[in-house]
Symmetry: C2
Subunit: 151 residues, 2 copies
DNA sequence: AATATATCAACATAAATTTATAGGAATTAT
DNA sequence: ATAATTCCTATAAATTTATGTTGATATATT
């Protein structure tokens, strides 16, 4: 019903992946590796990373030894920035961004409901950064190592 | 990026429309009228109302003089019920409903982020009822009447 | 200088899902 | 009987999701 698109999901995972490498070294990360680690095809990643580059969330380095790196520190990249870059909006329904989208706004009983939900989400994603995602991620990985899967 | 589907949007508007008639009389409302008032095709409304009927949010009366009526009072129908009926879930990503959907959950840094957002939304839609939508709607309509559009 | 590695770009296409329309069968009040 | 209405199934159109192809461009390594 309310679904985050694959672009949003994959794009965020791509950014978290870059953030992990960013922390370990400043070497650029190649999409081939991201593809293998995240299980997303390179072709699709190529399409998804374009808006992230346009919005200056990542930098590309061409040629052999090239790849992608974060344009800023993980603490300075909000999840909201990523979602916004990947589709230009974070609103649940078109009419919130574009009031001409639906002529019934003036008497619609649902408009305010979707607007409230959109603001909740926007506020939530404004407060979260890549750093938060990174910390969640590393916590889970180290927990998985300490408690190795039996059987 | 994060979009409410037309089923969710139209279905909720359909329910608000029924709620308005519910208040005024107990006569069943026909989809033809809803279609004209909401600007949504009858054929599409017919499809959308099926899950609402299955989930006992509306009752249908067949034949001439038939139509649809709310199964319960507007105060007793949560927006969450409607959204849930229309797709079986209110979660932003599949993996929250179905943990087998993605094998990377154990180490994914984004899972908790989407889960948090989903819970925010769910909590929000749990607290809102059709009655709330109805009140917003009537407030707007009476405001529009008092202050008629000049020009 | 040649080679290998990557991004970059512009397409094309295919599969899946969502959105929307269409035709007619079944049911019921009048 | 007739008209009104839901109910059921099919299909069309649009969009999203994903892969494939070809080749240009940039750069590190040999």
């Amino acid at each position: 019903m309310i679904k985050l698109s694959t672009k949003g999901r994959y794009g965020t995972r791509l950014m978290v992946n870059l953030a992990r490498h960013y922390k370990n070294s400043n070497e650029p990360t190649i999409l081939k590796n991201v593809s293998e680690e995240e299980g997303i095809s390179i072709r699709y990643l190529e399409q998804i990373i374009i808006p992230l580059k346009i919005n200056r969330l990542v930098k590309s380095i061409r040629g052999a030894g090239g790849g992608y790196i974060l344009a800023r520190k993980p603490t300075e990249i909000k999840i909201c920035d990523i979602l916004h870059a990947l589709e230009g909006s974070c609103s649940l329904v078109e009419c919130i961004e574009d009031e001409t989208f639906c002529e019934k706004i003036k008497t619609c009983g649902t408009y305010e409901i979707w607007k409230g939900a959109t603001e909740l989400l926007r506020n939530y994603f404004e407060k979260l950064t890549l750093q938060d995602a990174l910390e969640i991620c590393e916590k889970k990985i180290s927990a998985a190592k300490k408690r190795p899967k039996i059987k």
